[in-house]
Amino acid sequence: MATSTAPISRRLSISPRAGGWLGFLGLALLAGLTAAILVFARGLILTNLSNGVPWGLWITIDLSAIALGAGAFTLSAVVYLFGLKRLQPIVRLAVFVGFIGYTTALLTLVMDIGRPDRFWHPWVYWNIHSVLWEITWCITIYLAILIVEFLPVIAELKFFDRYPKLRALAHRIHGAAPVLAVLGLLISLLHQSSLGATYGILRSRPIWFKPSMPIMFIISAVAVGPAVTMGVAFVIEWIRRKATVPHDILRLIARASGLALLLYAYIKFWDLAAVTYYGRTPGSDQAFSILRNFTPYGFGFWVGEIVIGILLPVLFFLMPRFNRRPGYLVLGAFLAMVGVVFNRWNVTVSGLVVPLDYAPGVDLSTVLAKPYIPNLTEWAIALGVVGYALTLLTLGVRYLPLFRSPEEGKH
C-alpha cells in the first residue's frame, strides 16, 4: 500500500495526511463492499441477527443517519421560512450533510432488507396504515427535495460552463427555495417523528409503547442535526485552513442546539419519571428489571445518552467559556452525535432483547437468552457506509462550491 501510494501522491501532489485519509476511506469502502457482496450472495444469515432480535446495528445506523441529517430541514426552514437570513451561508453545507445522511440510511436499508431486489415495493404496493410505508415515502420525497435544493450548487461546477442553459435552470430552481423549505419541513417533521412511532405504536412491547417516542425522536434530531453541520463546518475549516462559515453563525447554531438539547433532556426526564417512577406497569417494570440485570442498558442510558449525549454538549454549547472556542464546539457536536447513536441503539436493541410476555405460565427467565452483539460482517458494512459518507463529504469539500453564497454564484 505504502509503496504504491508514495509515487502517486507526489505526482498528484497529495500531502501524506491526505494520502493516509484517502487510504483509510479506500479500506473502509473495500471492507464494506466485500461484506456487501457476501451478504447479497448468502443472505442475512451472515449476521448475528435472529428471529428474537431481527433488527440491530444496521437499523441503528439508519435511524442515526437520518436524525443526524436533520440539519438540512431545520436550517433551511430557519432561513427560508422563519426569515433568519443571517444563517444563509450554512444552508448549502446543511443540505449536503443531509443528503449524505439520507443516502447513507438508504444504503444501509438496502443491505438490511431480506429482498433488496424488491426495494421498490413500497412505492407500488401501498399500506397506508403502516408507519414504515409512510417513512419510505417521506424519505423518497425528501431526498428528491434535497437533490433539487442542491442542484444550483452542482450547476456551479466548472463542468457546467459548457451548458449555460442548464445552469440557468438550476439557478431558477433556487427561487423555489422557500417552497422547498416548507415542503421539506412538513415531510421531515412527519418522518423524523414516525421513526420514533415505528417503536412507539407497538402495543406488544411495553417499554416502547408510549406517546413520547416520536416526540423524543424529532426533538433529538432537531437538536443534534444542526450541531453536526456546525461541527463539520469547523472541521473543514481546520483541514482546508480557509474560512468556511462565519464563526458567529456557527456559535449561534451551537447555542440553539444546546437549548434544544435541554428541551430534549426535559422531555426525557418526564418520560423516565412517568414510565419508571410513577407508571410502574407490570410490563415495563419487568422489562426494565430484565435490562438492568442482563444487559449494560443502564450504562448506555446514563453515560451514553445522558452524560455524553446531553450533559457535556449542553455545557460546551451554552457556557461562554466553552462556546467561544471552536474545539469545544466540535467536541460537543461529536458527543451529541454519539449520544444520538447510543439512543437509537438503546431503543432498538433493548426493546427487542426483552422477551415477549404472552404465554401464561411460561417463566420468562427461561426464554430470556436473546443477547445480540453485531458480528464482523455487520461491522464491516457499518464501516463501509461510514466510509461512503466520509468519501462523499471529502469529495464535496474538494470539488463543490459549498461555501459560496448564491449571490456570488450567479454570473
Binding site: G43, I45, I113, R118, P122, L202, S204, Y358
Partner: protein, 281 residues
C-alpha cells in the same frame, strides 16, 4: 415603535378593527375547523371509524370478518400432554425448518405450581399488529379470518416480526438446504419452501382449507381439509372449525367452556381460544 414613547401615552387605545378580509378569514377558519372536526370524529377519514358500535360494546364470536366463515381453533391446555406431535406434523406438512418451528410447545407452570404444556400456532388475529405495520401489504387478513403471507411481495424488512406480540413469525435468514427430518415420518411437504429473505408463519394449513372447501369438505370435520396439527393430536387437545357456524365444535366449545385468548388487552382479537388447565393458568 410604541416602546420608544412609553411615558407620553399612558393609555393606548386598542381598537379592534375587523376588515372584511379579516372577517372572511376568521369565518373560513372556523368553518374549516368545524368540518375537519366532524370528518375526524365520524367520517371515513376518522381514526375512530374502524370501531363499530358492536365492537365497542363487546365481542360476539366471529363478528368481524366479512366472509361466510371465520376459521378458528380451540386449544385445550388441560388435556395437552406436551408430546410435540403438532409441532412435528406442522414442520413436515409445511416444510418448516424443525429448529425454527411455526408451532411451539413450551412447559408452563400454573399459579398453584402444577406443570402443564402451553402450545401456540399463529393466533390469526382479526386486528393483527403485523398486518397493520407491513409497508407493502405482504401480509393480510383474508375474508375467512386467516392471516397469510404473500411471499412474492414481502421485502424482508421484518417489522411484522418486531410488531407481533406472540413471536409467531420467522425469517428466512439464508437459503435453506437442510433435509427435513420430519418428512416423511410426520407428513409430506404440501407447500413449497419459502425463498431466502422473506418472513413466514403458520397459515392454519390454508391450502387444505381452500382445496377442501372446493371439494365440498368441511374444515375441522374432514381431516383432508383440517390443519395437520389438529389431525395428529393424540388427545384431541386441538379443535379446528368455523367460529361463525354455531353448530361447529369450536363454537360449541367456546360457548360451553371457560376460554381465554392470549393478551386480550392488546385488542388483537385472536382466532385461537384456550381452555385453561383445571387449576388455572
Amino acid at each position: 415603535m410604541s416602546q420608544q414613547t412609553p411615558g407620553k401615552k399612558r393609555k393606548q387605545k386598542v381598537r379592534l378593527e375587523l376588515t372584511r378580509r379579516d372577517f372572511l378569514t376568521l369565518a373560513a377558519t372556523a368553518a374549516g375547523s368545524a368540518v375537519a372536526a366532524q370528518a375526524l370524529t365520524t367520517g371515513p377519514l376518522s381514526p375512530f371509524s374502524s370501531f363499530k358500535q358492536s365492537q365497542l360494546a363487546g365481542e360476539e364470536i366471529g363478528g368481524h370478518t366479512t366472509g361466510r366463515h371465520q376459521w378458528g381453533m380451540v386449544i385445550n391446555l388441560d388435556t395437552c400432554i406436551g408430546c410435540d406431535y403438532c409441532q412435528r406434523a406442522c414442520s413436515a406438512t409445511n416444510d418448516v425448518a424443525p429448529e425454527v418451528p411455526w408451532n411451539i410447545v413450551q412447559e408452563a407452570e400454573s399459579a398453584s405450581g402444577r406443570r402443564y404444556f402451553f402450545s401456540r400456532p399463529c393466533l390469526h388475529c382479526q386486528h393483527a399488529p403485523c398486518v397493520e405495520v407491513c409497508p407493502v401489504q405482504a401480509t393480510y387478513v383474508r375474508e375467512d379470518g386467516v392471516v397469510i403471507m404473500d411471499y412474492d411481495r414481502c421485502i424482508g424488512c421484518r417489522y411484522c416480526m418486531v410488531a407481533c406480540p406472540y413471536d409467531a413469525r420467522r425469517f428466512n435468514w439464508g437459503e435453506r438446504e437442510d433435509v427435513n427430518a420430519f418428512v416423511p415420518t410426520w407428513g409430506i411437504a404440501e407447500v413449497e419452501r419459502r425463498p431466502r429473505g422473506v418472513v413466514e408463519k403458520c397459515t392454519f394449513c390454508v391450502h387444505r382449507i381452500d382445496a377442501g372447501l372446493a371439494n365440498g369438505l368441511v374444515p375441522g370435520v374432514d381431516p383432508e381439509a383440517t390443519p395437520a396439527c389438529v389431525n395428529i393430536c393424540p388427545v384431541d387437545a386441538r379443535v379446528f372449525g368455523d367460529l361463525k357456524d354455531p353448530e361447529s365444535r369450536v363454537a360449541k366449545l367456546i360457548e360451553n367452556s371457560a376460554t381465554f385468548r392470549l393478551r386480550e388487552e392488546l385488542g388483537t382479537r385472536p382466532s385461537v381460544y384456550y381452555i385453561p388447565p383445571k387449576e388455572g393458568v
